[in-house]
Symmetry: C2
Subunit: 428 residues, 2 copies
């Protein structure tokens, strides 16, 4: 039995390495594919998605039935479920990505040297991207399309719970690639749901994978961050802070906090902690907490907050570093902006923080001293999103400092090379 | 004895973690240090270097004596040796870095959104950089200065062979930092030469090290690439190719090949392989090989080259993937540009390649299909250098595709964050 398992594992290793080699070969073709070719693949894939939507829904029905049989939660089943509208929206997403500017080949810097050398820094694809996701089958299309647009081959590894759905969507992408004369292996879906496959991807498939993007919950991201031996674009969590300075426009603070916490509580840009300057706490905290509570938000407060708002529960030390992804907020009164900055520096996950203030010097300090991927002034943290940043679409948000930081769109999925134009120069 | 060793190891682990924590704290201060402050630290360090040059030479004499006692090679002793001129040149290097534009805080992109949000992408320091180097004591100053200029704290780990010299140079840097009111821990030199310290740095010192830069020979770089659990800016080798197209200006090809191979044979941008189009081979290869041989270069050739040039030695398969760093070149005749591109794609180390051609379509194909950090047209591969690219100075050349690629100067030692300027926007 053990022998059989290790035989299976070694088969999976072989399968995965073949996927890696095929992706690398496809990446070479994609690197010089024209924008028109890539865009045709995307729009044709959108057509195929719509044309095969009944097949996709039939495949999705199998996944849903299996989910019910396993007693999955309603929220889980909802994430998994496709219908004609959702398929139409996926197809629309593919067309929107086709319409983005093509990043590959764009000159991002030019250097003219005294010796006449002209040096251009030009965007190139990264190569091969591994995307590991969970139950949402639409990631197959979204991630596949972003990687293709940026000239990268992609290896998609979806969760076993959505495997039939992902496979059906993947078939439409493959048809689009074929129609555009691009290699089918530009977008590959891992054919096995065995977890050994994930481990192999994290090891880089024999040097063929250039970066891994995990799309899913904290445990997936944590495993990827822990085990990956190739670079990872990811954020583990979004413990987003809002600091309301004593100079804040209080009506504005009220609206922004409400929006940042309650618009959608389950996204990474949702606020988790509210810090309020002590000078305005008495005039702000009770009203703000009341409005939040009226919308169904639980308030966890430090001692002053609990004294000002009866329905607040005392916050524990752990609460300041917890991403609730729910209608819960931790509220703390701070002595001054120094204390606010210190708190953020200590507890932040490096995702998004906001200051609400009218005093420019407070804003300048917050902007200079907070080193998160996104730092905002007088705006809701829920704007932390590639679409809202004008990137068209994002494959995720990164909190690392290397290469990509903040929303990861098609530009962030590229590298660059230097092209040096000479006229016979030799180095003295 | 074993117990004692592991006690020592655990002491070193503690020391290294303290270094990491101190560097992280210093990085926070450096991130908001003014350009004037950082530049003062650099110019003051240059002054201290000159003022203490006798101490530095005395320290260096100890390293040299130990090197002789160990029977080190003349080349090794030369790399290790300092004199008043070399110290003056190190000091000059510090002043040159002070004069570079400060990258931190520079706005590198601005996005205006329809809702009035103004989003700026602004350069930030990376944080903490670990530099692991070998025998050249000047790296202490060069690398320390580049990291400081880019707002990063640095942990320097020099080779045991140059430890006294590095320590003396480091003292001058520390004096400069103190004079500028910056934390001494902004530039730390690992106080032990135990190899356990390197292992700890490669593991990231408890999440405090953001990137590792190895400076040294292939075995050091290979170990770092293999073992590091944090990102690495490096190149393992520079197997640089020159392809002479049938459209080449042959006189230019001659000069460039000679320069690319022979100007300095020991640098990573030196050419290792020459590919010549078959249509011009008979008219080019014998003369080129003769000129190279006259300058002391050994020729390894494929069958046609050996037939054309009597003094050529048959090249083995291994030769095409060997970085000689010496007066040796591998020469091959190729059927066409496709064969040249295929050869480069197969054997290249991703560093620098050049095409010599007058035919624009050949150049375009070479530029599009060769995915090395630097691709040149009608110029010597020896220009692959941060200084020659106008970056002022470089900490090394990277062949990875993530974050930094090609010469790594102060800009490449930065990350970025997004600053979002709002006027009360909430997300609908």
């Amino acid at each position: 039995m053990i022998a059989e398992n290790s035989q299976q594992s070694s088969d999976i290793v072989d399968v995965m390495r073949e996927l890696g080699a095929a992706a690398k070969a496809a990446a070479r073709v994609l690197a010089t594919a024209t924008p028109a070719q890539k865009n045709l693949a995307l729009t044709a894939a959108a057509d195929h998605l719509l044309a095969t939507s009944n097949d996709i829904l039939a495949a999705n029905a199998k996944d849903i039935a299996a989910g019910h049989a396993k007693g999955m939660s309603a929220a889980f089943i909802d994430r998994l479920t496709l219908d004609h509208d959702r398929i139409a929206s996926i197809a629309k997403g593919l067309r929107a990505i086709a319409e983005l500017d093509d990043p590959v080949g764009r000159i991002i810097a030019t250097i003219e040297r005294p010796n006449g050398l002209k040096i251009e820094r030009v965007r190139t694809p990264l190569g091969v991207i591994g995307v590991i996701f969970e139950s949402r089958p639409n990631v197959t299309a979204d991630a596949g399309a972003l990687c293709l647009k940026s000239g990268n081959a992609v290896i998609l590894r979806g969760g076993s719970d959505s495997h039939h759905s992902s496979r059906a969507i993947h078939a439409a992408l493959t048809a689009g690639l074929e129609q555009a004369g691009l290699p089918k292996t530009a977008i590959q879906l891992v054919p096995t749901t065995d977890r050994v496959a994930v481990g192999e991807m994290l090891m880089g498939l024999d040097g063929t994978v250039d970066v891994i993007v995990p799309r899913g919950g904290k445990s997936l991201v944590a495993r990827v961050q822990q085990e990956a031996r190739v670079p990872v674009f990811s954020h583990l969590e979004g413990i987003c802070h809002i600091y309301v300075d004593k100079s804040a426009n209080l009506a504005m603070a009220n609206e922004i906090v409400l929006n940042a916490k309650m618009r959608r509580t389950g996204i990474c840009g949702a606020a988790e902690t509210l810090l309020v300057h002590k000078d305005i706490a008495a005039g702000t905290v009770p009203a703000l907490c009341k409005t939040l509570a009226a919308q169904g938000c639980s308030i966890l407060g430090d001692v002053p907050v609990c004294a000002m708002f009866d329905d607040a529960t005392p916050a524990t030390e752990e609460d300041w570093s917890t991403e609730y992804l729910d209608a819960i907020i931790s509220v703390k009164v701070v002595d001054n902006i120094d204390a606010a900055i210190k708190h953020v520096q200590h507890y932040s996950s490096g995702h998004t923080e906001a200051i609400i203030a009218e005093d420019k010097s407070a804003v300048d300090r917050f902007f200079a001293e907070i080193d998160s991927a996104i730092v905002m002034h007088n705006a809701s943290t829920q704007f932390a999103d590639g679409g809202e940043f004008g990137m068209g679409a994002e494959i995720g948000i990164a909190t690392g400092k290397m290469h990509a930081r903040g929303p990861v769109g098609v530009e962030q999925l590229t590298s660059f090379k230097y092209l040096v134009h000479g006229t016979g120069q030799t180095r003295p």
